[in-house]
């Protein structure tokens, strides 16, 4: 990766259409690499989630011509919430296969075009429209059912979930790109309006307008134009059945540092875990040569559409064992060091998760989200967070290797990519 840019994520950008938002992020991505020129680009992959929000089919073609990239190769990637992560990996594939020396990954979403509840309906169309949607199609309801089962199986508490909200919203106070930065307490998270028991408004990410761009290139091009490129050392992805009701109850897919005896009693994945996420992590770790993620990663940017799914994802990624996600956040491990969150955190900062503020605080303009994570990871690994965010608070010290995780549906497509400082 040789460049990255994002727009500020906001509730609404009526003054900019999706083409102009992407153009802003695209121009930003060029800022630090003056020797890089447009003629070095061999093609592009565009991502946006919903034709319902956009109501402009082939919108990525309009971005392609707006950026002046015609007649170079181009295509659109769509994969629900994981759209951005899939786009990133698709651009990586173009370069890794040798088909292109440089590929642009761009993504956007314009969710403000309908009201929040219509937006929720559009998103719920990404559940089975015969069997799931008509019952009360609402993603927050689906995730609420998952975490009820997680609480039942493992004793996870709503206060542990609220700690994720406190963490990510507080991190975002130092990230000017974030939509919803604020200082919260566990009590405030619990007292905010109930959406779907046990998830409150502050447990759930917001809809957003925004765009993000990543420039990926071969090592040869990177060495020529970029002083501090970042290596994409591993990619993995996984899937699961569209209907949560269809998930099996079998054996855990193990990571190298786990054993079957760790999970003798656990029926997996059920609705409490994401085997697609575990599969994505396993493949990415294999490729990057990671045996113990907790010891070998410097930070994680994961898909926290819900506080509960951040806890579920700690487990899928093997940052802790299945069932220990609640205690993992309670320990303080995924918090940033050096920020006062207003609570006692014995292991604060062992492995910062969502230093950017994640989806909960940055917002979730779906097609841009997975690419936004890549841009934040890129800045972390370059050590340039201070320069891009205007303050050094969120810079992870000596960041060598980061993980980004993008997640669709109720876990139907999930990507994990590993980025390394060079």
């Amino acid at each position: 990766m040789i460049g990255g840019g994002i727009t500020k994520f906001a509730k609404v950008h009526p003054d900019k259409d999706f083409r102009l938002m992407v153009k802003e992020a695209y121009d930003y991505a060029f800022r630090e690499i003056p020797r890089f020129t447009k003629d070095m680009i061999d093609g592009a992959v565009g991502s946006y989630f919903s034709d319902h929000f956009t109501r402009q089919l082939k919108a990525a073609s309009m971005v392609q011509d707006y950026l002046g990239l015609c007649p170079k190769p181009s295509k659109r990637i769509e994969g629900g919430g994981a759209t951005g992560g899939l786009c990133f990996q698709s651009a990586w594939e173009a370069v890794a296969s040798g088909r292109m020396n440089c590929c642009v990954a761009f993504g956007f979403e314009t969710m403000s075009r309908v009201n929040t509840w219509k937006g929720n309906e559009f998103i719920a169309l990404a559940s089975d429209t015969n069997f799931d949607f008509p019952v009360g199609g609402f993603y927050s309801g689906y995730y609420a059912m998952m975490v009820q089962r997680h609480m039942h199986e493992f004793g996870t508490t709503v206060e542990q979930m609220a700690m994720v909200s406190v963490k990510n919203h507080a991190n975002a106070l130092y990230n000017p790109y974030a939509q919803k930065a604020k200082k919260l307490t566990i009590k405030q998270v619990r007292e905010s309006p109930m959406v779907a028991t046990p998830l409150t408004m502050e447990d759930i990410c917001t809809m957003s307008d925004g765009a993000a761009v990543c420039l990926l290139a071969s090592e040869e091009v990177a060495a020529k134009v970029c002083e501090r490129p970042v290596r994409i050392a591993g990619v993995g992805s996984g899937s699961d059945a569209m209907r949560m009701a269809d998930r099996p109850h079998g054996k855990v897919i193990l990571l190298p540092h786990e054993q079957e005896s760790d999970y003798a009693q656990l029926k997996y994945p059920g609705v409490h875990s994401f085997r697609g996420g575990r599969t994505a992590a396993k493949l990415a770790y294999q490729m990057a040569g990671i045996r113990n993620p907790m010891e070998e990663l410097s930070f994680v940017e994961l898909h926290d559409a819900y506080t509960s799914s951040e806890i579920q994802t700690y487990e899928d990624l093997g940052l802790c064992k299945y069932g220990e996600g609640g205690r993992f956040v309670e320990s303080g491990s995924p918090f940033m060091p050096g920020i006062d969150y207003g609570m006692t955190l014995p292991k604060q900062g062992r492995l910062p998760v969502n230093p950017s503020g994640g989806l909960l605080a940055c917002g979730h303009p779906v097609g841009a989200t997975g690419l936004m994570q890549a841009v934040f990871a890129f800045w972390q690994l370059q050590g340039t967070t201070n320069q891009h965010l205007g303050n050094p608070t969120l810079q992870v010290k000596n960041a060598r290797r980061g993980l980004i995780h993008s997640h669709a549906g109720t876990g139907t497509y999930i990507t994990v990519s590993i980025l390394e400082a060079v």
């Binding site: 219509k118 009360g136 927050s140 059912m145 269809d246 998930r247």
Partner: protein, 161 residues
């Protein structure tokens, strides 16, 4: 029909209201017997003809082994695997809030079924609670023709004739 004027929502930038609606010709195709079954008070799942895996939500081929499945009548009683009460929802369902969603477990089935739970206060809902299927008298040929209620205070009604 008289042309309606354009609703202008803002002038700088110019924002207008743009309306869109459509009717689909929607076939339930191979899943049709499930929806017809609901109108007869039956809950039909699928049983794999090769490996015997039983799906509480129907599918015509097995996800485990790929063989065709046969229709499998599920018991009309089950228990709550997990639940939530929704206080907000997609626009289509906002007027129905609060409503309770459950995933139902059935004896002899390997997977679950998503439905609504009625006839109980949200605070009384818990995992493991026995529930019984109820069917709409006037079918709408949607999955909502079936819902569940707590089994114990009200023994399950016999299936409609």
């Amino acid at each position: 029909m008289a042309e309606k004027g354009t609703v202008v929502l803002g002038v700088d930038p110019l924002v207008i209201q743009d309306h869109y609606e459509i009717d689909y010709r929607h076939s339930y195709a191979e899943d049709s017997p499930f929806f017809v079954g609901l109108s007869k008070g039956k809950l039909l799942g699928s049983r794999c003809t090769k490996c015997g895996y039983v799906y509480a939500t129907p599918r015509s081929h097995c996800m485990e082994c790929g063989a065709p499945t046969a229709w499998h009548e599920l018991p009309l009683r089950g228990s709550i695997h997990t639940f939530t009460t929704c206080h907000y929802g997609g626009e289509a369902f906002l007027k129905e809030t609060p409503f309770t969603l459950i995933l139902v477990e059935f004896d002899g089935a390997n997977t679950l079924f998503l439905s609504r739970l009625k006839g109980i206060k949200p605070e009384a809902v818990r995992i493991g609670l026995p529930v019984a299927a109820r069917f709409a008298k006037m079918p709408s040929f949607k999955v909502t023709d079936v819902w569940f209620e707590p089994a114990d205070p009200h023994p399950p009604l016999p299936p409609a004739p």
